[in-house]
C-alpha cells in the first residue's frame, strides 16, 4: 500500500469508529459514548497527518516529511495554546 492508501484507511477507520460510537450514543442517549465518538472523529485529520509524516519518513522523502512535521507541530501547538487560554 502507498502513502495515499495508508492515509485513506486512517481516515476511514477514524470516521467509522467515530460514527458507530456517535450513532450508539445518540440511540442510547449516552453522553459518554458520544464524547468518545466525537473525540475520535475530530482527531482523525490529525492522525492522518501523522501517518503521512511516518510514510514520508519511510520513503526518506525528507523535504515533504519536514513539511508534514511542521503541520503536525503547528496544529498541535495551536490546539494546546487555545486550550491553555481557556483554562486561564
Amino acid at each position: 500500500m502507498n502513502m495515499n492508501g495508508y492515509i485513506a484507511w486512517t481516515l476511514r477507520i477514524g470516521i467509522a469508529i467515530g460514527l458507530v460510537l456517535i450513532v450508539i450514543g445518540e440511540l442510547l442517549t449516552n453522553e459518554q459514548i458520544l464524547y468518545y465518538g466525537l473525540l475520535i472523529l475530530i482527531c482523525s485529520p490529525l492522525f492522518a497527518v501523522i501517518v503521512a509524516f511516518l510514510c514520508l519518513l519511510k520513503e526518506k522523502d525528507w523535504f515533504w516529511a519536514s513539511i508534514a512535521a511542521t503541520v503536525v507541530a503547528i496544529v498541535v501547538s495551536g490546539a494546546v495554546i487555545a486550550m491553555l487560554r481557556i483554562l486561564e
Binding site: 492508501g5 492515509i7 497527518v49 496544529v75
Partner: protein
C-alpha cells in the same frame, strides 16, 4: 458542497444553526466545526485514495495558510469588519468571474518526476491527468493572504484556496477542490478540539450534524468524481457569488 467544491460550509452552517436552532455564535461555531471535520474526513478518505487530493501540496499550503491565519488573528482588531468583508467578497467575485471567463490552464510535467509533478485519474472520462504545480512561491503567498482573510472574517479559506490553486498554481479544478477538502479537516481540527475540551460543544447536536455532514460528503464525492471539470468550475463560481452575498448580508446585520 464541501466534497464537491472543497469548501467547509461554515458560511452556511453557522447562520442556519443560529437562525433555525437558536444557538449563540460560539455554540454554532463549535457544532459547525465538527460538521466540517466529518465532511472533510468522509470526502478525503475517498479523494486521497483516488489520488485526487494532493496530500503533499495540501500539507505545504496548510503551513502557509496557518501562518496567514495567525497573522490575521493578530491584526484583526485593528481593522473594521465591514472593510474585511468587502475585501473578502471582492476576491471571491473576482475569482468567480475569472473562472467563468478564462479556460482552465494545466501545465504537463516537462519529463522526469519533479517535486511538484503529480497525476490522478479523472473518472468522468477515464483520462490520466498529469500536472506540474506552477508559481509555488506566489501561490504560497496567496495562501497566507487566504489564511489572513479567513481568520479575520471567520469564513473558511476554501473559497480562496481553491481559486489560488486553480488560477495561480494551475492545479486542475478537481485536484484543487479535493485537496482543499483534505486541508479543511486539518484546519478545523484545532478549533473543534478546543471547543470540545472547553465544554462548549453540544454533544448530541454535534453528533447529529456529524452524521449528516458525512452523508452529504459521500454524496458530494460521488458527484465530484463524475462531473466534468468545466461543470465543477462553473458551479463553483456560482457558489462563490452566493457566499459573497451571505457574507455581505451577515456584515449588514441581516443574517
Amino acid at each position: 458542497m464541501g466534497a464537491l467544491f472543497g469548501l467547509g460550509g461554515g458560511v452556511v452552517f453557522v447562520p442556519v444553526l443560529m437562525l433555525c436552532f437558536g444557538m449563540n455564535p460560539a455554540e454554532a461555531a463549535a457544532v459547525s466545526l465538527v460538521g466540517i471535520v466529518a465532511g472533510s474526513v468522509g470526502a478525503s478518505s475517498v479523494f486521497v485514495e483516488k489520488g485526487l487530493a494532493n496530500v503533499r501540496l495540501g500539507l505545504l499550503l496548510e503551513v502557509t495558510t496557518t501562518i496567514g491565519a495567525i497573522a490575521g488573528a493578530l491584526i484583526a482588531g485593528y481593522l473594521q469588519e465591514w472593510v474585511l468583508s468587502l475585501v473578502f467578497c471582492g476576491v471571491m467575485i473576482y475569482s468567480a468571474v475569472r473562472m467563468i471567463m478564462s479556460p482552465e490552464k494545466v501545465v504537463e510535467p516537462n519529463g522526469g518526476n519533479g517535486r511538484m509533478s503529480f497525476k490522478y485519474r479523472d473518472e468522468a472520462n477515464g483520462d490520466d491527468i498529469s500536472y506540474e504545480v506552477q508559481n509555488v512561491g506566489s501561490g504560497s503567498v496567496a495562501c497566507v493572504f487566504a489564511g489572513m482573510l479567513s481568520s479575520m472574517t471567520g469564513v473558511g479559506g476554501g473559497a480562496i484556496k481553491v481559486p489560488v490553486m486553480n488560477l495561480i498554481m494551475h492545479v486542475p479544478m478537481k485536484a484543487a477542490s479535493s485537496t482543499s477538502s483534505y486541508m479543511i479537516g486539518i484546519t478545523a481540527f484545532s478549533g473543534a478540539i478546543t471547543y470540545f475540551f472547553s465544554g462548549q460543544l453540544d454533544l448530541a447536536f454535534a453528533g447529529g450534524i456529524a452524521i449528516g455532514a458525512f452523508a452529504g460528503a459521500i454524496a458530494g464525492t460521488y458527484l465530484s468524481r463524475r462531473l466534468s471539470t468545466g461543470h465543477i468550475r462553473k458551479y463553483f463560481s456560482v457558489v462563490l457569488v452566493f457566499m459573497s452575498a451571505l457574507v455581505l448580508l451577515r456584515t449588514g446585520g441581516i443574517l
